[in-house]
């Protein structure tokens, strides 16, 4: 069964504008409708695994019009986005009752999903920018949703840096257009494959690296993330850390570098440097935190480092003419870690939301002994902590193992050592979370704490199950071929992307 690609964008976009129409009387209906829309998106994205599809908008063929491309990498990102947004939506049904105007929240949430789906499906760099802005503007508003002192301050900081990042991206789009005369990724890719990269395109690549790096919060550009992610409501933190920085930052960066402008030794060292800096600095800043959500936010920076490190190592091996098998392995590790991080980090943010909702605080020093009061939260949080620290058999272990193997095989022993070291520090900081939140003395004022069950627990359990069983994606061959290998090939094919898209256009007969 073939699903028309614009549906991924049109469905959440239309419902985002229709939901505010059902006023206060139909509030329950609005939440239900939003959940159904996200569930439909989830089913659609799972059905789209293994497909390669090009959609020509308005029958304007490729050099002229806009096109949407679904390949392995887009399918992987779509599935990740839908999974996390589905669980976040389940969680927010109860959690967002604390805030007013839930309809506006739902509509911003759906707009953010629209933007992210658009970014991963777009086959046109200007369109990518437009969708990136849709997702970003919705996320700025959601970070400031609480309208208290901290939220507004974080929203302003996030918005300033986010808009600067968007301007860098738009400038890069302009430079690419001036140098190649096209905005379509496939056409640019063919141009670069034939003519090589010139000074203008190299400048554009630098602009893209800065812009997308800011969106992905890689270390020299990370200042906004530890403020923005904790200030948002918990389900939104889960969305921001879980998928937004990946779709807007990592996905766009790797798409532009691998498929459009081409890899080189220099850019791969830039990626590796960004990755190592993010991993090390992120994790050491995280250890010293006493705010639950802020600690998690710093870990997002560190874990994004792993993903970029895997992608950078693959680029280095490919551009040095090394064994493509090890390049594929590094990419597999990076992309699998991206999926895993989406699952366990959103789960951690949801559990932090559950703790905050039950106790009214997220300072680690004011908590303690909640293991018996919040059993579901406690068990899911333990699973997620084990996963993020890379304890077998949880999903984080497999992706880190693959990254270490790839680094050793490529002869980058230093990077392998850093990967293991950062993993150990991660484990230490999550032991601290377990110790201060769930073990130890129960403070007097938290004696009567009770857990919120129902959909909130449901969302957390769903993600915890994924944490336990996602290792199957690498171990079980058919899953790996459909889900991960397709995504890896989409990137490692490089300029062959252009040929695939252009010939698919002819096949559709338009």
């Amino acid at each position: 069964m073939s699903i028309p690609l614009p549906l991924f964008i049109a469905l959440p976009l239309a419902s985002a504008f229709l939901l505010p129409l059902c006023g206060k009387k139909f509030k329950g209906f609005a939440s239900l409708a939003a959940t159904v829309v996200i569930a439909v998106l989830l089913v659609m994205s799972i059905l789209s695994f293994g497909r390669f599809d090009v959609y020509i908008v308005g029958r304007w063929t490729i050099p002229l019009g806009i096109n949407l491309v679904l390949d392995g990498l887009s399918a992987l990102m779509l599935a990740t986005i839908s999974t996390v947004s589905f669980t976040a939506m389940l969680f927010s049904n109860r959690y967002m009752e604390q805030y007013t105007s839930k309809n506006k929240y739902l509509s911003l949430f759906l707009l953010m999903v629209t933007g992210m789906n658009g970014v991963v499906l777009s086959g046109d760099i200007f369109n990518l920018f437009v969708f990136l802005e849709i997702a970003s503007i919705a996320s700025y508003a959601l970070v400031g949703f609480g309208c208290e002192h901290e939220e507004l301050e974080a929203a302003f900081k996030y918005m300033t840096l986010g808009t600067v990042a968007s301007m860098f991206v738009l400038f890069g789009v302009g430079v690419v257009y001036g140098n190649t005369g096209s905005l379509n990724m496939a056409v640019i890719s063919r141009y670069v494959a034939e003519n090589g990269i010139n000074t203008g395109l190299a400048f554009a690549l630098a602009l893209f690296t800065t812009g997308f790096g800011l969106k992905a919060a890689l270390v020299p550009f990370h200042a906004w993330l530890p403020d923005a992610h904790p200030s948002a409501p918990a389900p939104i933190s889960a969305m921001l850390s879980g998928v937004l920085i990946k779709a807007l930052g990592i996905y766009s960066l790797s798409r532009v570098i691998f498929n459009v402008l081409g890899i080189s030794v220099q850019i791969s060292w830039v990626l590796i440097a960004l990755g190592v800096l993010s991993m090390v600095i992120g994790v050491f800043l995280a250890v010293g935190q006493w705010d639950f959500k802020r600690l998690l936010a710093y870990h997002s920076i560190s874990q994004m480092g792993y993903v970029i490190l895997g992608i950078g190592m693959a680029a280095l091996i490919l551009s040095n003419g090394g064994n493509p098998a090890w390049a594929s392995l590094a990419l597999l590790g990076g992309l699998f870690h991206l999926m895993n991080h989406a699952v366990f980090k959103s789960l951690l943010f949801l559990t932090s939301g559950s703790v905050e909702m039950s106790t009214g605080t997220r300072q680690l020093k004011e908590l303690g002994g909640l293991a018996e009061r919040l059993p579901v939260t406690r068990s899911t949080c333990t699973i997620a902590s084990a996963a993020i620290a890379g304890v077998p058999p949880f999903n984080g272990f497999w992706s880190k193992l693959i990254l270490v193997i790839a680094a050793v095989q490529a002869g980058l022993y230093g990077l392998a050592a850093v990967t293991v070291l950062v993993s150990i520090v991660t484990l230490i900081s999550f032991l601290k979370v377990q110790r201060y939140v769930f073990l130890g003395e129960l403070p007097e004022n938290l004696k009567s704490t009770a857990e919120h069950r129902g959909l909130m627990a449901c969302a957390m359990i769903l993600l915890a199950i994924l944490c336990v069983f996602m290792g199957a994606l690498v171990i079980y061959e058919p899953f790996r071929v459909v889900v991960l290998d397709n995504a890896v090939n989409a990137l490692s094919d490089g300029f062959a992307y252009a040929g695939k898209v252009l010939s698919a256009q002819i096949l559709t007969g338009q």
């Binding site: 503007i137 507004l152 301050e153």
Partner: protein, 125 residues
């Protein structure tokens, strides 16, 4: 040459964002960056010989036949219309983000009573 002036304007905007303490001035800096990029996009479709350039609207004389094929002369003289479409889109996006940014500034002023970002420092660590 003119392109580097665009880049200079972009850098002035970035400097303003990074150095200024007043939130409204930061917003103005972001706008400067936006205008620099928009100017750059418009200039991509610009032709050097101004007297030769025509608007990219094919009128009666520019069409060779009823099927709508345009003459080579028109193609060589018309300015590139695509950057203008890009600029329109980017202006609209810029308007949306400007409105949100100013709204956040107003709310912050209500809460903190100041526009000075050095005094708005509850988040740290």
């Amino acid at each position: 040459m003119l392109y580097s002036l665009c880049f200079l304007l972009f850098m002035i905007g970035l400097y303003c964002v990074l150095v200024k303490k007043n939130m409204i001035k930061i917003v103005i800096g972001i706008l400067l960056m936006e205008y620099a990029v928009n100017l750059f996009l418009v200039m991509l479709g610009w032709r050097k010989l101004a007297e030769e350039a025509v608007a990219p609207i094919a009128a009666g004389g520019d069409l060779l036949d009823k099927a709508g094929t345009v003459s080579q002369l028109f193609v060589s003289r018309a300015v590139d219309p695509l950057p203008q479409a890009l600029v329109l889109t980017s202006i609209v996006i810029g308007l949306g983000s400007l409105a949100l940014m100013v709204a956040i500034c107003i709310r912050i002023y209500e809460k903190y009573g100041t526009f000075d970002i050095t005094k708005i420092r509850r988040l740290k660590g």
